[in-house]
């Protein structure tokens, strides 16, 4: 190879190539989809955080975001629908040296996997959970989700969603997550910083990433790809430490982004070692 070719090759090399299974590219995500940006920020955060990447694993569930684990050049586990968190919990508890990142979607983590999320947060299992929230089930063609805004149209709510969506940061906060943040794919640098903070928190960290799904969600709700990003720009309000009850996704009123909880407390394995392992306890005082 000539020097010129090498230089050209170097010029097109993506800064995250060393963290990607480049032979698996192109990825399956649609044009205009936000998952790639969320994924890229997540990898950038992992890289910049300085954690030992040889001891870092990514676990995903099922769905569009669930394909994340398939593209990262780390030990990566693409599990069953909704079960990324309990699978990751087993991994972390079996080998506490591992840094475990769960990268998955809103349907996977909060509908079918909702029970697992609330319990992992309650226990403060040392996981970093990144949820790409694109407001619908994209992989199956755009059905209503637990995050679909009220009255939004999907293939299974053709006249509009009769239900209300979850406020995910509020849920995470209420369940005991020790780090909670929300950004959009338009806020890639803030998102990367949030991932770095989440990885540094020795406990259950939750980062919600609002992302456009132009093909399945946008198309049915009169949102062109740029319209969604414009919404993210014009209707978002950055307010760190906002109270989690103010965090409903309501684009009319504006959607609050930022870091809402950063309150480290002992994680589940620390508490297990302290409470359940007898040798850690001081000897009992003699009755005499």
């Amino acid at each position: 190879m000539t020097t010129a070719q090498e230089a050209q090759r170097e010029a097109v090399k993506h800064p995250l190539d060393d963290l990607l299974r480049t032979e698996r590219i192109p990825h399956i995500w649609c044009p205009g989809c936000g998952i790639g940006t969320a994924f890229s920020s997540c990898l950038m955060g992992m890289k910049e955080s300085g954690i030992d990447l040889d001891n870092t694993v990514m676990v995903s569930g099922i769905g569009c975001s669930g394909r994340g684990a398939g593209y990262v050049k780390l030990d990566s586990y693409h599990t069953t629908h909704g079960r990324a968190i309990p699978f990751a919990t087993g991994m972390k508890l079996a080998n506490t040296d591992l840094n475990v990142v769960v990268f998955s979607g809103d349907g996977d983590l909060f509908a079918i996997g909702g029970n697992h999320f609330i319990h992992a947060a309650r226990r403060n299992v040392d996981l970093t959970v990144v949820c790409v929230n694109n407001f619908n089930y994209g992989m199956t063609g755009g059905q209503v989700a637990a995050t679909t805004p009220h009255l939004a149209k999907t293939t299974t709510t053709p006249l509009g969603n009769p239900d209300s969506p979850f406020n995910l940061p509020l849920l995470a906060y209420a369940c005991g997550a020790s780090y909670v943040a929300r950004w959009t794919t338009l806020h890639a640098r803030d998102l990367t910083s949030a991932i770095i903070e989440a990885l540094a928190n020795p406990g259950f960290s939750f980062v919600e990433v609002l992302a456009p799904c132009p093909i399945n969600y946008g198309r049915r709700n009169k949102e062109k790809p740029l319209d969604t990003l414009r919404l993210f720009q014009e209707k978002s309000i950055i307010k760190n430490n906002a109270h989690p009850t103010e965090l409903d996704v309501d684009w009319e009123r504006g959607v609050v982004l930022g870091t809402f909880v950063n309150n480290p407390r002992p994680c589940s394995t620390d508490m297990y070692d302290k409470v359940c392992r007898l040798e850690e306890k001081p000897p009992k005082k003699s009755a005499a």
């Binding site: 299974r21 698996r24 040889d54 001891n55 694993v57 676990v59 684990a69 398939g70 050049k73 780390l74 030990d75 990566s76 586990y77 693409h78 599990t79 069953t80 079960r83 968190i85 309990p86 699978f87 990751a88 919990t89 087993g90 991994m91 972390k92 508890l93 079996a94 080998n95 040296d97 591992l98 029970n115 697992h116 609330i118 319990h119 394995t269 297990y272 359940c276 392992r277 007898l278």
Partner: protein
């Protein structure tokens, strides 16, 4: 000790270091024992939020390198089927104990049965092979649990211990040998150049050497149909190649995996085919029938899956009739019928569950059905 406790002790003897539990009668005592013992030896017990999570957690723990187990009964076993399939397709060693109770649904929570035998074989979706064992005493469940871990590690597969409420709750004398007398098998680990490792390329016995998370091999593990690299491969050809090896690693090693015990079969005119707690009925029936001058023998299946087809066919060619004794309304019996293939009459001595089958019922059936 009880069978449930002996099972937990067997797991510890086998090197189990992770248990993902969820309470359910009559399996709770397995989880309780593990919760007391694991932290003493550097292992971890966690009580998960449901049996779906319990099963997912043990698959994850095993991928991180720990020998792992869970225990349950019918309703929980149903919930575990999803991630049992994940363990099958990702070839993750683990052990699942089902202390069976009468079903369907909530059924008789405190009373034994053997009604989940076909669920053990076919409960998760798609085609697959599985190893399932059936202990007949507290002592045997101790050794069988060690054996289950060894088979799981050797063949990179989930192994099921299909016991029942009676064995689980009955107290019997259990001898626990010195650690040095216990043979344990560890998974074959990946070795060599990391850039040349193919995570799902067949090794010895058709089983791929395994890299755990953190070993530096940067594996990708998926529940999707995958190629030798572990990468999703959505083609008819990839499915065929993957399935052939997944099925083959069990089917081609049947002689190493299948375990059974014969009791007075050499000169028998009639054979009782049974397993688990019903083998105690079977043994008593053989002894009583012999006392009455009827030559009855017993084939006790120690591994129910894969099925001891060759042995059943062999016995069918030598006897006048066979009976299957099991506490369900005909599950393993269907397999016995299939293998006997009409060579001799085969009758079921079954029961809908909640109690053991009496040896008298077995003898009565043999007399009545075979005109002895």
């Amino acid at each position: 000790m009880t069978g449930d406790v002996a099972c937990a002790e067997g797991a510890l003897a086998a090197g189990c270091l992770f248990f993902g539990g969820y309470p359910i009668t009559p399996a709770t005592e397995v989880a309780e024992r593990m919760s007391h013992r694991l932290p003493e030896i550097g292992g971890t017990y966690i009580q998960m939020e449901d049996e779906i999570a319990a099963m997912a957690s043990i698959v994850g723990a095993s991928c991180a390198g720990a020998k792992s187990m869970t225990s349950t009964s019918g309703p929980g076993f149903s919930l575990m089927m999803e991630n049992l399939g994940l363990a099958v397709i990702t070839e993750t060693p683990c052990v699942v104990v089902n202390v069976q109770r009468a079903g369907p649904s909530t059924g008789l929570p405190t009373q034994g049965a053997q009604g989940d035998m076909m669920q053990a074989r076919w409960g998760s979706h798609g085609d697959y092979e599985i190893i399932a064992m059936a202990p007949a005493s507290a002592q045997e469940i101790f050794y069988q649990t060690i054996d289950a871990f060894n088979l799981a590690e050797k063949y990179r597969t989930p192994v099921l211990i299909m016991t029942d409420e009676v064995i689980g709750h009955m107290s019997e004398r259990v001898v626990i040998p010195d650690a040095k007398e216990i043979k344990t098998i560890e998974r074959v680990k990946a070795k060599g150049r990391k850039d040349r490792y193919r995570p799902y390329a067949a090794g010895a016995l058709g089983v791929p050497p395994m890299a755990n998370a953190g070993d530096g091999y940067k594996v990708h593990v998926t529940g999707l149909t995958h190629d030798e690299m572990g990468y999703p491969a959505m083609t008819v050809e990839a499915q065929a190649v993957m399935m052939e090896r997944l099925m083959g690693k069990i089917q081609n090693n049947r002689d190493d995996i299948i375990r059974y015990e014969e009791f007075m079969t050499e000169d028998a005119d009639y054979i009782i085919v049974t397993y688990g707690v019903s083998a105690r009925t079977g043994r008593a029936a053989v002894e009583e029938a012999r006392a009455q001058g009827i030559k009855v023998g017993m084939l006790r299946l120690i591994t129910v899956w894969p099925f001891a087809e060759e042995k059943i066919r062999d016995l069918a060619s030598k006897v006048k009739g066979m009976v299957t004794v099991e506490i369900n309304l005909g599950q393993v019996h269907l397999e016995v019928e299939r293998c006997v293939a009409g060579r001799v009459p085969v009758k079921l001595v079954g029961h809908p569950g909640g109690t053991l089958i009496s040896p008298d019922t077995v003898i009565h059936t043999i007399k009545q059905e075979f005109g002895v």
